[in-house]
Amino acid sequence: MILFLLLSPLPAFAVNPDEVLADPALEARARALSAQLRCMVCQNQSIDDSNAELARDLRVLVRERIVSGDSDEAVIDYVVSRYGEFVLLKPRLRGETLLLWGAPIVLFLGGAIAMMLFVRRRAGKAVGEPLTAEEKAALEKIVAGSQAKGAGGES
């Protein structure tokens, strides 16, 4: 966290009033898209949070594409075609990122199955040897004795 504080940019703003689109619906889309795009020269910051020049250029670019009528996917595709996959903070599912997206699912399901098997196998096992006739008799005697004693104690 200390490092993170050190890594953060000089304080100033990310989105400035002059960039904001007049149409609130389009602006909301631009903000949502900006949060998904990485500021290429920053450390783990979206262009929405960053005040770097490059982030500003990218924000303006995103807004230009939105105003010109691009869908969200088209804007993302356009930015990726210019800056590469590195610009996406949420990588798209493809060969290289299969393990990344698959890890949580595989780990969760694998873990769940392993645990179910473990519990089943152990629950199904009989505990120890069955009692012999002598042991049963001895046990009954003890139980009967303790019950009598318990009753005596209470009265």
Binding site: M1, F4, L6, L7, S8, N16, D49, E85, L107, R122
Partner: protein, 663 residues
């Protein structure tokens, strides 16, 4: 001269830690009590030496002795005293000294309060602590020595990074390290048990207080760091899924899992092998975090330790300890006998579910943090994994866990009744939905998902209260008896309820601020106003100011609601003179649990200034909830059964139930 004495004490510490690593172990192998008895005295001596060395480094900072390179690089004679002291650990060398200080402190605690531990176990545990101390002592002396001198001594220091000149630096790292390093004790216990090949419920009873303590400190440390970032960075975020944050969050997730599995092991002797593995994994993640942060391996351009020799050194420590521990585990785990049986639907089953989700979550965060690094190393392709990825995957994983939390304590050990637990939680579910509906009505609309999230939060609060109510027999016995039973409940019952309540509070804060936060970016001239969260914020003008080592420009704002004045707030931009570095000091005004957050931007040529105003509803709940969780940990730690320690031999050491004694 005094600096050299501190340096010498550090070298002596290395010598004692080597003794502590070897002799007790030889003692357990040869069954020689005299050798085993070396461990506690070596541990206490090691702590005293480290504390002395640390005190001398602090003395160098306090007296601004710039002949010490480390002080020259990170301090300034004009710096306020509190930052001179906290500045000791505001840099790489000093923070490693703090790491070592806390590590030896915990060893000394085990040595001092471990009187009821079996001799062999204590000797082995302290020996393992000795290995860790040796590794990090060597690391400091060889690659990160804070006692190196400069000749000639410069007249003035280079000052501490201004962002670190904050009370947060005095609190956050020590708490975080108490947590991080605290898990080393659990690790040492696990290794000691594997060395001896013996492990039982008593072992879990010794480990659990350490896990609880480390976890409580880590919880507070992470929460404190989050709040610090929130108010210091000036853009209102409170969690960024930054690799450095993830480095502290992964041990927390694994540690939370450990806390719960140790419970199963202590009560039911089940999950032994798993608990040992988790103890190893949790501290391994702490070590990994230290490596990630200290080596600068994660494309950090500003990391304060980008020296590759340090990275390689820590990586070696990492490989030896994690690799060694896991090999030992693989070798010895099959010989550990598995314990108690349980049905899938039972308290044990619920805790297994908890462990499954928490470890998957920790693994997900680990994958996301390391994936870009590994992919680039293997294929040369650069990708980014950021907040949107973590929010999605982590959020989905947490959902079932949050829903399950109130069920856990209501299920019986061995075989539980899910339906009955569900019936008992009927009221909690109702309360959750009802309160969410009220919130919906008062907000007048908004995303459905947000109210669903709020309902989960309220349901968790009600669930925690339900647990305590059922335990004290509310509704079944008279109010007086229920009250007496409530106060007679063991500390761990209160701790559980408190911690789960805290999770609910945090969830409410996160959902509320994510869904209902409003943000305004406006250019303001004196006299202009802006609306946020029902408050009107009026900009009055700027003022120049001067602090001990900075100059500042502050904007003054008055706050009103429906024409009635509700106070004022200052928001500033500072320029620290020594480093010519600007910072923002956001203006924050608290109303109940919500905050108005005002941050200043660039001045415009026409005399206006860009102002960013956020309304952050219920945001304080995020950190208050974490503090409640921490409190839950400490309350649980006060449980008499943990203080007394494991039963010795027969069950005679079990305390008489408080209720029976009172009657």
């Amino acid at each position: 001269m005094i600096i050299e004495i501190g340096h010498y004490a550090l070298v002596l510490l290395l010598a004692t830690s080597i003794v502590q690593s070897l002799l007790p172990l030889a003692g357990t192998v040869r069954n020689d009590p005299a050798l085993m008895a070396v461990a506690p005295s070596a541990a206490v001596t090691g702590f005293l030496l480290t504390a002395f060395s640390f005190a001398i480094l602090t003395f160098a900072y306090v007296t601004s002795d710039f002949s010490v390179a480390n002080v020259w690089q990170n301090s300034h004679s004009m710096k306020p005293m509190i930052y001179k002291i906290s500045g000791v650990w505001g840099n790489h060398e000093g923070s490693m000294m703090l790491w070592l200080l806390i590590l030896t402190f915990f060893s000394a605690l085990v040595a001092t309060f471990g009187g009821n531990l079996p001799e062999r176990l204590r000797a082995n545990v302290l020996a393992v602590q000795g290995w860790i101390t040796t590794a990090f002592g060597l690391f400091i002396l060889l690659t990160s020595n804070p006692f190196l001198r400069l000749d000639p001594a410069p007249g003035e220091g280079q000052d501490l990074n201004p962002i670190l000149q904050d009370v947060g630096l005095a609190i956050h790292p020590p708490l975080l390290y108490l947590g991080y390093v605290g898990f080393s004790v659990c690790f040492s216990f696990a290794i000691a048990a594997l060395i001896d090949g013996r492990i039982d419920a008593a072992w879990a009873r010794w480990v659990r207080p350490w896990a609880l303590m480390a976890w409580s400190f880590l919880t507070a440390g992470i929460a404190m760091g989050s709040y610090w970032a929130y108010y210091e960075l000036g853009w209102g975020g409170w969690w960024f899924w930054d690799p450095v944050e993830n480095a502290s969050f992964m041990p927390w997730l694994a540690g939370t899992a450990l806390l719960h599995s140790a419970l199963v092991m202590e009560k039911r002797e089940a999950l032994k092998i798993w608990t040992v593995l988790l103890s190893i994994l949790t501290f391994s993640l702490s070590l990994l975090g230290t490596f990630l942060v200290r080596s600068g391996v994660l494309t950090s351009v500003h990391a304060f330790a980008t020296d590759p020799t340090r990275g390689v050194f820590i990586l070696t420590i990492l490989i030896i300890f994690i690799g060694g521990a896991l090999s030992l585990f693989a070798l010895r785990a099959p010989t550990l006998k598995a314990g108690g049986l349980f049905a899938p639907i039972s308290r044990e089953g619920a805790l297994v579910f908890n462990n499954l989700i928490l470890t998957t979550a920790a693994a997900t965060v680990l994958t996301g943090t390391l994936y870009p690094l590994v992919l680039e190393a293997l294929t040369g392709e650069k990708i980014s994994v950021g907040a949107p990825f973590f929010n999605l995957t982590f959020g989905l994983l947490m959902l079932p866990l949050l829903l399950a939390v109130p069920f856990g304590p209501l299920l019986a050990w061995k075989r539980g009744d899910l339906l009955a637990a569900g019936q008992r939680l009927f009221a909690a579910v109702g309360i959750g939905l009802f309160l969410a509906a009220i919130a919906q009505w008062s907000q007048g609309g908004g995303p459905v998902l947000a109210y669903f999230g709020l309902a989960i939060g309220f349901y968790m609060l009600a669930g925690a209260v339900t647990d305590l109510a059922l335990r004290s027999g509310v509704g079944k016995v008279t109010a007086g008896v229920a009250r007496r039973r409530l106060f007679g409940l063991p500390g761990s019952a209160f701790g559980t309820a408190l911690a789960h309540f805290g999770v609910g509070v945090t969830v409410i804060g996160i959902v509320a601020v994510t869904a209902f936060e409003t943000e305004h970016v406006v250019e303001m001239k004196p006299g202009a106003s802006v609306e946020a969260g029902g408050y009107t914020l009026t900009f009055d003008g700027m003022r120049q100011g001067r602090g001990p080592n900075f100059t500042e420009e502050s904007g003054h704002f008055t706050i009103a609601r429906a024409g009635v004045s509700k106070g004022e707030v200052w928001s500033s931009k500072r320029l620290y003179t020594a480093r010519r570095m600007p910072t923002t000091e956001a203006g924050i005004r608290t109303f109940g649990f919500s905050q108005l957050y005002v941050s200043l931007g660039d001045a415009m040529s026409d005399g206006g200034i860009v102002v960013r105003v956020w309304w952050k509803p219920m945001i304080l709940c995020i950190w208050i909830g974490s503090l409640i969780m921490m409190a839950g940990g400490f309350v649980s730690l006060c449980d008499r059964r943990l203080r007394i320690g494991a039963p010795q031999g027969a069950r005679k050491a079990r305390p008489v139930p408080a209720l029976g004694a009172a009657e």
